[in-house]
């Protein structure tokens, strides 16, 4: 590994450790917040939160110390030497954004069009965009939509919510 790529990887490791520490802080904050909110409750409702919250905060402190140690200046470079870390490549961040966009987009489609229209459209678009042929895209879209319609609509009578676009409303 060249010095340049080792430095890049060490930077990635430091960034990753920073994110890790933030996440631990987040967990600690959740526990602290839970204890604060539950303070006003009667004992029989709050005891489990207070007891476990206290233990949790102590453990979170232990974990935080461990995370901070791994953020110390020398450690990232030495970690970079020993770690195989393809997930640390910055290219992967965009991959995360890409898939999350599809997930959120799917949920937005559901709100706009309703489940029974959004499902085949989403399946069709995803398969087509990432390299599936026309036939495969249409077949999978029909299968997914048909399966959900038959099982969840006809058999289980799931009460679908009304979509925001009235055109797609099921009467």
């Amino acid at each position: 590994m060249s010095d340049l790529s080792m430095d890049q990887t060490a930077r990635d490791v430091r960034r990753r450790n920073f994110e890790k520490t933030l996440f631990t802080l987040f967990i600690g904050a959740v526990l602290l917040g839970a204890m604060v909110v539950s303070w006003e409750w009667p004992v029989r409702a709050s005891i489990i939160v207070l007891v476990l919250g206290s233990i949790g905060i102590a453990l979170a402190a232990v974990q935080l110390i461990s995370d901070l140690k791994s953020m110390a200046p020398g450690s990232a470079r030495s970690e970079a030497l020993s770690l195989e870390a393809p997930a640390l490549e910055s290219g992967n961040r965009w991959a995360n954004v890409e898939i999350w966009s599809w997930i959120i987009g799917f949920l937005v489609l559901i709100q706009l069009m309703g489940f029974l229209y959004a499902i085949p459209l989403f399946v069709f678009l995803y398969v087509k965009v990432y390299g599936g042929g026309w036939l495969l895209s249409v077949v999978l879209a029909v299968c997914a939509g048909g399966f959900v319609y038959v099982i969840f609509d006809m058999v289980l009578h799931v009460p679908w919510p009304n979509p925001l676009i009235p055109l797609f409303k099921m009467t």
């Binding site: 994110e19 890790k20 996440f23 967990i27 959740v30 526990l31 839970a34 909110v37 539950s38 409750w41 009667p42 029989r44 409702a45 005891i47 489990i48 939160v49 476990l52 919250g53 233990i55 949790g56 453990l59 979170a60 232990v62 974990q63 461990s66 997930a87 992967n92 991959a95 995360n96 890409e98 898939i99 999350w100 599809w102 997930i103 959120i104 799917f106 949920l107 559901i110 709100q111 489940f115 499902i119 989403f122 399946v123 995803y126 398969v127 965009v129 990432y130 390299g131 599936g132 495969l136 999978l140 997914a144 959900v148 099982i151 969840f152 289980l156 799931v158 009460p159 919510p161």
Partner: protein
């Protein structure tokens, strides 16, 4: 007794009962395959139809057939896409999905079904053997004993967490706190609901499971832009999986026994039997460090237990008419409607019905396993298809399954929140299984602690059952830690 056993068998083997049992098995298998639709939902749908039937044997065949096999088919989504098909297949995800990523999905599936078959046979045998002392068995476990059992479950969190026990315990604690969300049953206090009616019911376990496991693995698949199997070869296959179960026959039998014994604990057993079996496997098997990385034993143990527990959950039902869980509560309602009176009569004048239940558990398991085995190989090939065919289907599965929690748009928001949490936990090396177990056990833990204290004061700590169980907890936590230390020192 022999006459009752024969009457029960003949009742179940009658043509229409057998037919209904097969229908029940098909329905139960399909339900197990689909996350979000659980056994209780299906039984609730069948109930109106069943309550009009006149033949008690036919009712037993259909309902017990549905109930007995849901956990068999639920291995499909657990192993292939890391989405628990039912609460009984949560522990299977840990090693099952890891095996699928190695191209060993067929092996994992066949091992799971074979273990399910054996578990499904051993469970009824244990039920049968317990018939003479069913009642003292059920009466032995009061609120204090149940509380210690929940502690045992959470203490195993440290064991399951491998080399990140602090993170594992923290995840478990967060899970228990998530379980407190909603209106507290004993005080009516709104906890962490912030005035939102949706949260009064608490957070659905389905949403937690789908969000923590299903979506992050799907994201990983989409990021890698490859198939589920990271290696493009079939690897060890179908036959190997079957052989594995017999090679590890003692683990299989042990796990089945654990499942049956844990399954009988009313209200608690059916949701944790697979975890207990998984944990006892880690604690007792050699090379425990291989668990969690795609060890077939990590599939055999929970799958054997989650079938044998079904028989166990009938113990309190048959002994006292006290259902072991929601599914058996619904089955009980149907039984009463057709003239079967669960309770003491089931061991005397109604013994033939008891045997009909036992025979149905056995036969339904055999039929279900054969059906699942037939589909295992073709479905396992899904692990090699390009990601763009599988990712959208998984997301559809997960989103529709999540929506089925409360049929509310808010379910989707909660699903996204837990997906984000699962994604971050995975990214930063936090074990997710303990959080899920914490959610499963949290409400019961709090309830039994409250009942123990309010009923007995601090005296509950001196009950013999409690002391014995606490000692077992200590042994089961300290022993593997000591083994780990020794293994580390030897290395």
């Amino acid at each position: 007794m022999l006459q009752a056993a024969l009457d029960g068998l003949l009742g179940v083997l009658a043509l229409h009962s057998l037919g209904l049992m097969c229908v029940g098995v098909l329905i139960g298998s399909m339900v197990g395959f689909l996350p979000g639709i659980g056994g209780p939902t299906t039984l609730a749908i069948m109930l109106p139809f069943v309550m009009t039937m006149n033949d008690p044997m036919a009712v037993i065949a259909l309902l017990v057939g549905i109930d007995a096999v849901g956990n068999t088919a639920s291995a499909f989504p657990s192993i292939l896409i890391s989405v628990p098909g039912s609460s009984g297949s949560q522990a299977t995800i840990i090693d099952g999905f890891a095996m699928a990523k190695r191209g060993e999905a067929a092996r994992a599936l066949s091992a799971s079904f074979t273990a399910s078959l054996i578990g499904g046979l051993i469970g009824p045998i244990i039920l049968l053997a317990s018939l003479p002392f069913l009642r003292p068995l059920v009466l032995a476990f009061g609120s204090p004993e149940f509380f210690v059992l929940t502690i045992w479950g959470l203490a195993m969190v440290g064991v399951l967490s491998g080399n990140a026990p602090v993170k594992g315990l923290l995840a478990g604690i967060i899970g228990v706190l998530i379980a407190t969300v909603g209106l507290d049953v004993k005080s009516g206090i709104e906890r962490f609901a912030f005035g939102e009616p949706y949260l009064w019911e608490g957070i659905s376990l389905i949403l937690v499971a789908l969000g923590l496991f299903g979506v992050p693995e799907c994201i990983d698949l989409a990021r890698r832009k490859s198939s589920i199997a990271e290696r493009q070869e079939l690897g060890s296959g179908f036959t190997q999986g079957i052989k594995d179960v017999f090679l590890h026959w003692w683990l299989t039998v042990r796990s089945s026994a654990v499942g049956a014994w844990v399954g009988f604990l009313p209200g608690l057993g059916s949701s944790v039997a697979d975890w207990f079996a998984y944990a006892q496997a880690i604690q007792t098997e050699k090379n425990a460090h291989l668990f969690g990385k795609g060890d077939v034993r990590g599939v055999i143990a929970p799958e054997a237990a989650n079938n044998s527990k079904e028989a166990g959950s009938y113990i309190p039902t048959l002994a006292f008419g006290i259902p072991g869980g929601t599914s058996t509560a619904l089955i009980l309602t149907a039984f009463v409607a057709v003239g079967i009176n669960p309770g003491p009569e089931m061991l005397t004048t109604g013994l033939s019905f008891t045997f009909a239940v036992i025979w149905t558990l056995v036969l339904a398991n055999i039929v279900a396993v054969f059906i699942c085995m037939a589909f295992a190989k073709p479905i396992a090939k899904a692990c090699f298809v390009p990601f763009y065919t599988i990712v959208p289907l998984i997301l559809v599965f997960v989103v529709v399954g999540g929506f089925s929690a409360h049929f509310s748009n808010t379910d989707l928001l909660v699903l996204v929140a837990f997906s984000a949490l699962g994604f971050m936990m995975r990214r930063h090396g936090w074990p997710r299984a303990p959080l899920l177990l914490g959610v499963v056990l949290g409400a019961k833990m709090e309830l039994y602690l409250w009942l123990s204290y309010t009923r007995f004061g601090f005296e509950w700590l001196s009950r013999p059952g409690v002391i014995i169980l606490f000692l077992l907890v200590l042994v089961s936590v300290l022993y593997p830690l000591r083994r780990q230390k020794r293994a580390g020192a030897a290395a």
